[in-house]
Symmetry: C2
Subunit: 247 residues, 2 copies
DNA sequence: TGTACATCAGTGAACGCGCGTTCACTGATGTAC
DNA sequence: TGTACATCAGTGAACGCGCGTTCACTGATGTAC
């Protein structure tokens, strides 16, 4: 790996620059965790770093750009966490992989409540997320979707319960499920797709309720209720873990 | 209904006072709907009403008190909406009543997205809701809980699916469900209680996802998906509508 | 009915605050010959 | 290796802004006799 002299030198400059930029983002994240989303201020970050507030503009064109960096970081962090949790499971333990994703989401959210609120809470007023947040934003969904796609292909998703206990899909729901199928769940039956969407919203619904205090005076043992909910939804979708193939 | 003279007169004063207070809240609500939660400002409200900003302090001790008034109003509005939707159903059409509550929540949320975000979104930074918000906050939950309690008492909730499709309750979940039972679901089986909690979080999870833009590029026909989700969850809980009793 | 007094909604100026952003600058670091 | 020049991170003062809240006041409305 050769480096041209000029390259080396400006890389040195670039390295310093990147390090400072990283310091800014880290400090901003720290303040986010303390104060919460909307209260993030360039001046406060600069102050804490012992820099002039105007120096921020060497690194970010505006406050919104710093916010975007934080959002991307948060999406990547939860994406990493969920992927890592999922990766520890046997590949053909589909139920286990699904549960691991769910627990990964909650565990990360409880560790980083303000970052969770930043990306899954109410939108920050006056801020519009640019397109480059889309990719990191979809990583958690991709992890869940991959489990379903692979489970379905492996025949590890059972037909729903007893026929009369599962409502038929309306025509509109059928059409819509076909769209969703085309977008990343090719080959997965449409009734399963609907259930996956339901389970997906339930997952983030519970985590949000927990973090935003909706369970206060209603449910106390949040670990127990979450675990049970995940188990229920896994069964609801119909994910099963096939017996180990002899190796 | 006699009124003493003094009473009449100060009531006149009080009426004017109440009317102005209502005007302030209305204008604040209007700005909330435009700007979003955290951006609410006493000065802006006063400006729009043609009053001095200091005049606000005759009606509200602080900005937070105005915010509290808005929160209470929002809880009461969604409570009214859900109760009204539920009241149009036949009393023993338990599945219909449950669905009506769910659709009531979503319909109100779509009409008043910022008010929904105010009460069900991420907490407003630096604001702590006082105790007197608790009662109005619980009205929607009470409506849902009443349907379940009555349905259960009427024998209109079926045992879950096929035995092996429904995970057993963990010991902790069993204990926790007993707590929840004691808090408003007396007589409802514990496995049903867990499912109700799951359905409850799913309901608000979907609505929040819809309002906060999480379905963009994933699901298009939100009406269809919501309807189907509600149908799925109604069946998931096991609510059935008994045949009409002959009248 | 008429007068003296009390209440209280609303005013407008002022306080101190923190914010995002701009701009002309300084001085260290890197580049070209 | 040494010198003249270019780049660019960081400075500090300043801009204009809107905010919540306080305070001494005015003047209309209600109250008591």
């Amino acid at each position: 790996m050769e480096t041209k002299k000029t390259g080396t030198v400006s890389n040195a400059r670039k390295r310093v620059r990147d390090a400072v930029r990283a310091d800014i983002v880290t400090e901003a994240r720290r303040q986010l965790a303390e104060t919460g989303a909307g209260a993030l201020s360039l001046r406060a970050v600069a102050r804490e770093l012992g820099m002039a507030s105007s120096a921020m503009y060497r690194y970010f064109k505006s406050r919104d750009e710093l916010l975007t960096a934080l959002i991307v970081e948060a999406y990547d962090a939860i994406g990493d966490a969920v992927e890592a949790a999922e990766a520890t499971c046997e590949r053909n333990d589909f139920a286990g992989r699904w549960r691991a994703c769910c627990h990964g989401v909650r565990a990360w959210a409880l560790e980083q409540p303000h970052e969770y609120a930043l990306i899954y809470g109410s939108p920050v007023p006056g801020y519009r997320a640019p397109d480059n947040t889309n990719l990191p934003a979809s990583r958690v969904t991709q992890a869940l979707v991959a489990v379903i796609r692979e489970a379905s292909a492996a025949g590890a998703i059972r037909a729903p319960f007893v026929p009369d206990r599962s409502p038929d899909l309306s025509e509109a729901a059928e059409t819509e499920a076909a769209h969703v199928e085309a977008r990343g769940l090719l080959g997965v039956p449409h009734d399963v797709i609907v259930r996956v969407v339901v389970a997906w919203t339930q997952l983030f619904g519970t985590v949000s309720f927990e973090l935003f205090g909706r369970f206060v005076d209603v449910v106390d043992d949040l670990d127990a209720m979450f675990d049970q909910g995940v188990a229920e939804m896994t069964a609801f979708i119909g994910i099963v873990t096939p017996p180990m193939s002899p190796t």
